[in-house]
């Protein structure tokens, strides 16, 4: 039995604790917004938050999240300033990597609410996008960071 907090709600699972969090989310909890891309932590498509920090869920065993807080793209709630900025800037093309991009960006803004372009590039360099949306990702983060009233802790309030 592994227990942890998922998007503000307590969950308990009878799952092999070695199972990567990605497959627990997708196969056991039907939270399919977190994507499988490479299985080796190379592409960032599976990025979620563990206690507010961005991690690669494909390489994080379930045992590691016991008793901790996990937030997925579904947990951002759809009205996170980054999600608004993503829509406003037409960031997604195929869209497959975008959950991971947004989760990496949200973790960045939580620790650095006013990042400059270089900090954004560095923080986002672990998230591959085959469609090449990198410029839009950068613009959307800059624009979300300019939303003054945003509270970085809001994502875990639910």
């Amino acid at each position: 039995m592994v227990a942890f907090s998922l998007n503000g709600r307590e969950v308990e699972l009878e799952v092999d604790p070695e199972t990567p969090l990605l497959w627990v989310l997708r196969d056991h909890l039907q939270l399919t917004g977190t994507r499988f891309g490479c299985g080796m932590g190379l592409c960032g498509a599976c990025t979620v938050h563990l206690d507010g920090a961005a991690i690669r869920s494909c390489s994080t065993p379930l045992s590691m999240v016991a008793g901790r807080r996990v937030t997925t793209i579904e947990g951002l709630g759809g009205s996170h300033p980054l999600q608004h900025a993503w829509v406003e800037h037409n960031v997604p093309q195929c869209g497959y990597c975008q959950s991971g991009q947004i989760m990496s960006a949200a973790a960045l803004l939580a620790t650095n609410p006013q990042p400059d372009e270089e900090s954004i590039r560095q923080a986002m360099s672990g998230n591959l996008c085959r469609c090449g949306t990198y410029h839009k990702v950068q613009q959307a983060i800059l624009s979300a960071a300019a939303v003054a009233h945003w509270q970085p802790a809001a994502e875990d309030a639910s």
Partner: protein, 724 residues
């Protein structure tokens, strides 16, 4: 897909008599199309309006990021007089009504969607609008001139009538559809050329977009497949005792495609697969290593076994001018879309259902029906969002596999490829080699351009498979392969972009030698243009330097004065401030036509202490009338990032017939930190719209190679390129 390829496919399909020509609003051939309910107003196969006013567009093309849904919604919205954000969309089912009018398949490729459908979809919208207005005329007794459709309502000029489309549905559905419509003139457009909000953006930012990977019919199992590392092997034997003992494992069995490991979820399936020992039949003959393939391509260039695809004789004597020659080579490439291949299958009473993100759902249906041994009509394809396509998802090998696995099971099953499976079992962009020469005359004239191309033919492999879906299934594979072999001799996918050389040189010849390899080949964003543009535009640069001319001035001199090539060259040169790069910066330029569009790009690099770095990419495109400007810019930038990933890193190598790369560490892509700023110029045009999904890709590699030459003085003729 260029015009030649489409024409060929059309000719084949017409000869086979399998498909009817022409655009049918109702899709009357084959099974009748049943979408929605009787109460809906459904003027044609593409559009229906429900009694509550919900407008739903059936999108006949796959959405793989290129923005086709937004483009099609914009076109329909313009004429229907409904705001684009108020139109819902669905992935169209497989039906003859949704077959591409040119390609005779329900296939998304060749950057053709908007070019082929722009007028059809405007007619779809206008026809629905006029029928709704006719309903309002009947309801109000007013004439056409007194009524106006706007914002989803029909109003009278005097304000006495104001009816929402929802209120008109019950009458409209009983009327004859108005087919004779006048399309709005461009000066009345509200959204075409302006609308810039992707309609799928919200679903792709809150995690709710459904990709093939997310399909999960009730009771669905997960399968992984152990494939032979080389491409001509089959399962000889396997040992799975240990795997079957693991928790969650349901079955392990051999199929014609490999050993399937089926479990309750991906992780137990993958863990168990690691415990299965498989013996495959040994590799056959043929070219099996990158080194031997490269040598074979070089040897082919030295030989005489070439088929001419263009031969314009020169007027100058052959021995005049200075002879310049060079050889170029490009490697195999993988598509490496972010969503690894997958497909889900549920058996039904008489056939099966398949959930898959496919560029060719009717090909997927054909393949599934053959594997299951049922008629095509017994297979239902549920097309999903594609987590990247780039040509890879025009193949249906994943569908064949999942059906072969589902056949042996009582529960639905999802087949998930690992990243390693995806990298090692792609349908690859072939390695190609080119020998090119020309004569440079003292006055700058060029004569005796001769381009010889050697490499494997994509269509020799792929056309027989595609034709399987276009022709009646009783036609056996032999004749289809014969057509593939015949086409392979002068494969248009090998020479496109070279054959159509736009420069006014005195004497142009292009020829091709097919060098077959036992490695699966496929369409890779921009197909033949992905390598011919590199060779042609690099060599044009070499000729400019041999003639002692500026590369832009040289190109302009040899292009017709009012040509599109000159327009985009001039536009990109202005944007890049060509010829005035800051100190330490160096520029390279290239121009290339593909998919009826014309794109010029300038790559700017810096060189500091011998270290070369990408600084900026400038791009200008003429794609006719732009529908959604922001999407066109994004397609250019995305196409350039795709090209630069290949130009700087892309190389699939083979050893003993197996691919050596496995994941993003040994097949790297450009990352956020590697991607330079870019500027895109959309050249004004009111000509009919042409392709944007692929045309941004071809000019980037030669523009970069030309910039590197400017920076270092070294001409690199082999991809991938080295920076410094």
């Amino acid at each position: 897909m260029n015009l030649t390829r489409r024409q060929f496919i059309r000719n084949v399909s017409v000869a086979g008599g399998a498909l009817t020509l022409g655009f049918q609003l109702t899709g009357c051939s084959g099974k009748p199309l049943q979408l929605g309910s009787e109460a809906d107003f459904q003027p044609n196969a593409f559009l229906r309006i429900e009694p509550d006013g919900t407008v739903i567009l059936q999108v006949p093309k796959a959405e793989m990021g290129q923005g086709v849904i937004t483009g099609m919604v914009t076109l329909v919205a313009e004429e229907l007089e409904v705001h684009p954000s108020r139109i819902d969309y669905a992935m169209a089912p497989v039906h003859s009504a949704f077959g591409d009018p040119e390609m005779r398949l329900q296939i998304t490729g060749g950057s053709a969607s908007i070019r082929v459908y722009h007028e059809i979809l405007r007619q779809v919208g206008a026809s629905a609008r006029e029928t709704l207005v006719a309903a309002a005329m009947q309801q109000s007794g007013l004439d056409r001139a007194s009524l106006e459709a706007r914002e989803g309502r029909v109003r009278s000029v005097d304000g006495s009538v104001d009816l929402g489309y929802a209120e008109l549905v019950p009458v409209a559905r009983t009327l004859a559809v108005v087919g004779d419509v006048v399309l709005k003139p461009a000066d009345q457009w509200r959204w075409i050329g302006r609308y810039d909000q992707r309609v799928d953006a919200v679903a792709k930012t809150d995690g709710s977009a459904r990709f093939g990977m997310d399909a999960s019919p009730e009771g669905c199992l997960t399968a992984v497949l152990l494939r032979c590392p080389w491409f001509d092997g089959a399962v000889e034997s396997f040992e799975a005792t240990e795997a079957l003992a693991l928790p969650g494992v349901v079955a392990v069995f051999a199929t014609e495609f490999g050993v399937a490991v089926v479990a309750e979820g991906y992780w137990p399936a993958r863990q168990a697969a690691g415990k299965v020992q498989v013996n495959f039949t040994p590799p056959g003959g043929g070219l099996r290593d990158s080194a031997t393939i490269s040598a074979a391509l070089e040897a082919a260039l030295d030989g005489e076994d070439f088929a001419s695809v263009r031969d314009d004789p020169a007027t100058a004597a052959a021995e005049q001018g200075e002879r310049v020659s060079a050889r170029y080579a490009v490697p195999f490439l993988a598509h490496a879309a972010m969503e690894p291949l997958n497909a889900t299958c549920r058996l039904t009473a008489d056939g099966c259902e398949v959930w898959v993100g496919s560029q060719a759902p009717d090909l997927a249906r054909d393949v599934a029906s053959r594997v299951l041994g049922v008629p095509r009509g017994a297979v239902v394809i549920h097309n999903q969002f594609l987590g990247g396509g780039f040509g890879r998802r025009a193949a249906a090998d994943n569908v064949a596999e999942v059906v072969a696995i589902a056949r042996e099971l009582k529960r639905p099953v999802k087949l998930v490829w690992s990243r390693e499976d995806d990298m090692r079992h792609d349908w690859y962009r072939p390695a190609m080699a080119g020998a090119i020469e020309a004569r440079v005359h003292p006055d700058g004239r060029i004569s005796h351009w001769q381009h010889r191309i050697a490499g494997p033919s994509i269509n020799q492999q792929v056309l027989p498979v595609m034709m399987g879906a276009m022709l009646p299934q009783w036609i056996p594979g032999g004749p289809r392969q014969w057509v593939g072999d015949f086409v392979g001799k002068k494969d248009f996918a090998s020479v496109e972009g070279s054959k159509e050389l736009p420069y006014a040189f005195d004497g142009v010849s292009v020829s091709y030698c097919n060098v077959p390899v036992p490695i699966p080949l496929g369409y890779w964003r921009s197909v033949g243009h992905s390598h011919t543009a590199f060779v042609v535009e690099s060599f044009v640069d070499e000729l400019a330097h041999a003639a002692g001319m500026d590369p832009l001035a040289f190109r302009r001199q040899h292009l017709p004065e009012s040509s599109r090539q000159r327009r985009v060259l001039d536009a990109v040169a202005r944007a890049a401030n060509w010829g005035n790069a800051p100190a330490g910066r160096f520029q390279g330029i290239a121009v290339h036509d593909s998919f009826h569009s014309c794109v010029a790009e300038v790559v700017e690099v810096s060189r500091i202490d011998g270290k070369v770095q990408l600084e900026h990419v400038y791009c200008a495109i003429d794609c006719g009338q732009v529908i959604n400007p922001d999407i066109v810019r994004d397609q250019m930038i995305g196409g350039i990032v795709f090209a630069l990933s290949a130009a700087l890193h892309g190389e699939i190598t083979l050893k003993d017939g197996a691919v050596e790369q496995s994941n993003y560490h040994d097949y790297p892509l450009l990352r956020q930190t590697d991607t330079p700023p870019m500027t895109v110029v959309l050249v004004d045009s009111s000509a009919p719209p042409t392709g944007v999904g692929e045309p941004g890709t071809p000019p980037a590699a030669p523009a970069l190679a030309n910039a590197l030459f400017a920076a270092t003085g070294e001409r690199q003729r082999r991809l991938p390129l080295r920076l410094g």
